[in-house]
Amino acid sequence: MATDTKGSSTAEPGPGRRLPGGVPPVVRRVFRDNGALGALLALVAVLALLSPDFLTTRNLMNVGAQAAVVAVLAFGVTFVIVSAGIDLSVGSVAALSAMVLAWTATSQGLPVWLAVLCALVTGLACGLVNGVLVAHGRLPSFIATLAMLSVARGLGLVISQGSPIAFPDPLAFLGRNLGDWLPVPVLVMLAMAAVAAVVLNLTYSGRAMYAIGGNEEAARLSGIRVSRQKLVVYGLSGVFAAVAGIVLASRLVSAQPQAAFGYELDAIAACVIGGASLSGGVGRASGTLIGALILAVLRNGLNLLNVSAFWQQVAIGAVIALAALLDTLRRRT
């Protein structure tokens, strides 16, 4: 993954603080920059000991496929959180985008490539509306995206008349495996992780996100056109949501109006577990990926251990609090 960002500068580089000597510096840096990576590895180790079924290619790939939708949503949300905003609408926007795809392709007979474009444009449009409300309407992002959460969900229901629409066959491969073992959603997740990392680390807009999230007024007085960059931020989040929606619908083989319900909270949790700060200026694509994987591994492991779905919710909530707590402590020392 690309070079350092603010995540590394806020964490003190304490020499060999958590790791014994003799560890290559590259590995040490990866751990220092991604506090959650240790937690993920510990979780994997524990589950491998407890359940013989956990550490199999088949199961791990299954975990990856399950993580994919939340991860892709979370990359989009990472842009927003880094710029000190919040996006609650991504679950609804994902469902709406998938619905637009299925509806234009199945009911309206559009070619599939055009239907995919329509879905992406839908995501972009929702994001831009969020961006306009936040940047020009001066609404708090919480309120603007809460409104979009409702609007997008409602539009999906309107288009579908409340029932699922079949997903076009040519896209079914998106939900399947490549070479019998590699799920396509995992590939999509990794590709989007790379895109998010490049955007955050190497593009003007990405660096502007860190500046805006760190101190919006200082960014404005340094010549960054904050309003325009916020449109980019929320627009990107919308496009990532559309991609996540398409992946989800292909896994379900249909676009469902209630799909991805509540996923925005998982996406935010993934960002926070991965070390992003809700007060802005801090966050990494790699961290968010790890955060999404932690959530998926935990769900999968608890299933394998036959923990009831009710207790699973409790466990996941506890992990979110613990991760955030550990990160706070790590920054303080």
Binding site: L202, G214, N215
Partner: protein
């Protein structure tokens, strides 16, 4: 007891051999310090010398690693603000601890509002607040929201709050940094009255002329150690020498160079007006000169320079850079035209504190360093390293967060990002506020360097000796208008103050 009895009496609060280390730095190293009843004890030192850490120990925000705090001869452990308050120690911090959305009265009684039947007694709270405000001599409604007040009034509210806890020791961290003229005089009057009442005052300042005006004793800190305890009447040069450990030849080393008199001026402002803020403001800045903008806090200086730069909008008037009109309220256009702005609120507006030194230095040039949307980060880093070296930024490395730099080094970064952008005209708003003596002179030298290279500097400053010492011409603002321009021998403190206060407030001329 008479005041003389008190003066000979034992100290109220004493720090004995206190040591405090933070990761990577020993902030205090075996420092002794004491405050007696009825004295003003001035604490001097460059930024990073350990003054803030020492008063945080007294206020209970930190605890010493070694050594102890003694109150009335008994060792105490101060855990937090409420403990300190119980012991009679009140602190007025540099960053105000006030809630902008609450009223003045609510802020004064924050956490301990007067209650009646378990409910907040608002009427009594507001009456008590009015009494406190009257004691401080500030004309502010107890019902006003703090957000609506200017920085000088907020300072007064903070002082009133400290009085409300009946402090026996009052610690004031650079209270005059944001005040001017009459406000400083009023503050001094309050401090003198407290001293007469037997309160021990710890007074931190960077303005050396205030030491003799107000202080009784001076303790000088340098690099975490107490290097001297001297009477307040000590010669100013001697104090500077003690603070920096070397003598500083000239406090204001302005070197006037040739002013670029040909062609259109670097900056031409005509008839600038914004309703309620300023009106009819016009002036030129030419290449090679430093133009100072003096006046009282609230005279509209900051508002004018922000409007000129495009940070805020204006209603009427025009701004031209080298003859070309500059669109209003457009920072990116100013950047493109070669105008840079270093705001007075360094932490709130000048820097992204959580970001590294390197990222802050590269902020303005971010757009220019982008090709097809991708930033040349290696190039940005090289340029930042070169600029940090040129400005002598003292740091662990480019990755150090800007938050952890001292005030002077933060200011160098805030200026450096504009120099990287090649700004021809720099607007500096209070460039040396909260900056220690050594770094101040470095900033002045930088200004000389820039004007020698043909750049222009427009400098707002509330520090009269500074604005007189460093400016080639001084513009004085009074209540939103330019009251006059002074140059050469005509530019004296008295002349500036006379223009700044207008004829309506002759009392302030006493300064």
């Amino acid at each position: 007891m008479t005041p003389s009895d008190r003066r000979s009496s034992a100290p109220i609060v004493r720090a004995e051999g206190v040591t405090k280390a933070f990761p990577g730095v020993v902030a205090l190293d075996g420092v002794d310090f004491e405050v007696r009843a009825g004295e003003v004890h001035v604490l001097l030192g460059e930024n990073g010398a350990g003054k803030s850490t020492l008063i945080r120990l007294l206020a209970g925000a930190h605890r010493p690693d070694r050594g102890r705090i003694v109150v009335d001869g008994r060792p105490v452990r101060v855990h937090g603000a409420q403990d300190a308050e119980r012991l009679g120690i009140a602190t007025i911090h540099q960053e105000f601890h006030l809630v902008p959305d609450l009223t003045v009265a609510e802020n004064l009684f924050l956490g301990r509002p007067p209650r009646r039947f378990g409910l907040v007694d608002r009427a009594r709270m507001e009456a008590d607040a009015a009494d406190l405000l009257a004691r401080v001599g500030v004309n502010v409604s107890p019902r006003a929201r703090l957000r609506e007040l200017g920085v000088a009034h907020r300072q007064m509210v903070e002082i009133a709050k400290a009085l409300s806890v009946r402090a026996r020791v009052l610690v004031m961290d650079e209270p005059t940094a944001v005040l001017t003229g009459g406000e400083v005089e009023r503050l001094f009057a309050i401090v003198r009255r407290l001293r007469a009442d037997g309160v021990g005052v710890v007074f931190i300042t960077h303005k050396l002329e205030e030491v003799a005006q107000l202080g009784d004793r001076v303790t000088v800190l340098r690099d975490g150690r107490s290097v001297a305890r001297v009477p307040a009447g000590t010669d100013r040069d001697e104090l500077v020498r003690l603070m920096v450990g070397r003598s500083i030849e000239a406090q204001y080393p302005r070197e006037r160079g040739p002013v670029d008199a040909d062609g259109p001026p670097l900056l031409r402002v005509r008839g600038l007006r914004r309703a309620g803020a300023f009106d009819g403001v016009g002036f030129d800045v030419r290449g090679g000169e430093v133009v100072g903008l003096a006046g009282l806090v609230g005279a509209g200086r900051t508002e004018v320079v922000r409007a000129v730069f495009g940070a805020d909008a204006y209603d009427h008037g025009s701004v031209q850079v080298r003859g070309a009109p500059l669109p209003g309220h457009d920072v990116a256009a100013s950047l493109a035209a070669g105008v840079g702005f270093v705001p007075e609120d360094r932490k709130g507006q000048g820097l992204v504190l959580g970001a590294s030194v390197g990222e802050n230095l590269g902020l303005v040039t971010l757009r220019r360093a982008s090709r097809g949307g991708l930033v040349d980060r290696a190039g940005q880093r090289r340029a930042a390293a070169a600029m940090a070296a040129r400005l002598g930024v003292r740091m662990a490395g480019l990755d150090q967060p800007a938050r952890t730099l001292s005030g002077g080094n933060q200011q160098k970064v805030a200026i450096g990002k504009w120099l990287l952008a090649g700004s021809r005209l720099l607007i500096l708003d209070e460039p040396t506020r909260g900056v220690d003596v050594g770094a101040k002179v470095e900033i002045y030298r930088l200004v000389n360097e820039l004007t020698a290279a043909g750049h222009g500097v427009l400098m707002v400053s509330s520090d009269l000796p500074e604005v007189l010492g460093m400016s080639d011409r001084v513009l004085v603002m009074c209540r939103g208008r330019l009251a006059g321009e002074l140059a050469g021998d005509a530019a004296t403190q008295d002349a500036v103050m006379a223009l700044a206060v207008g004829s309506a407030r002759p009392a302030d001329l006493a300064r």
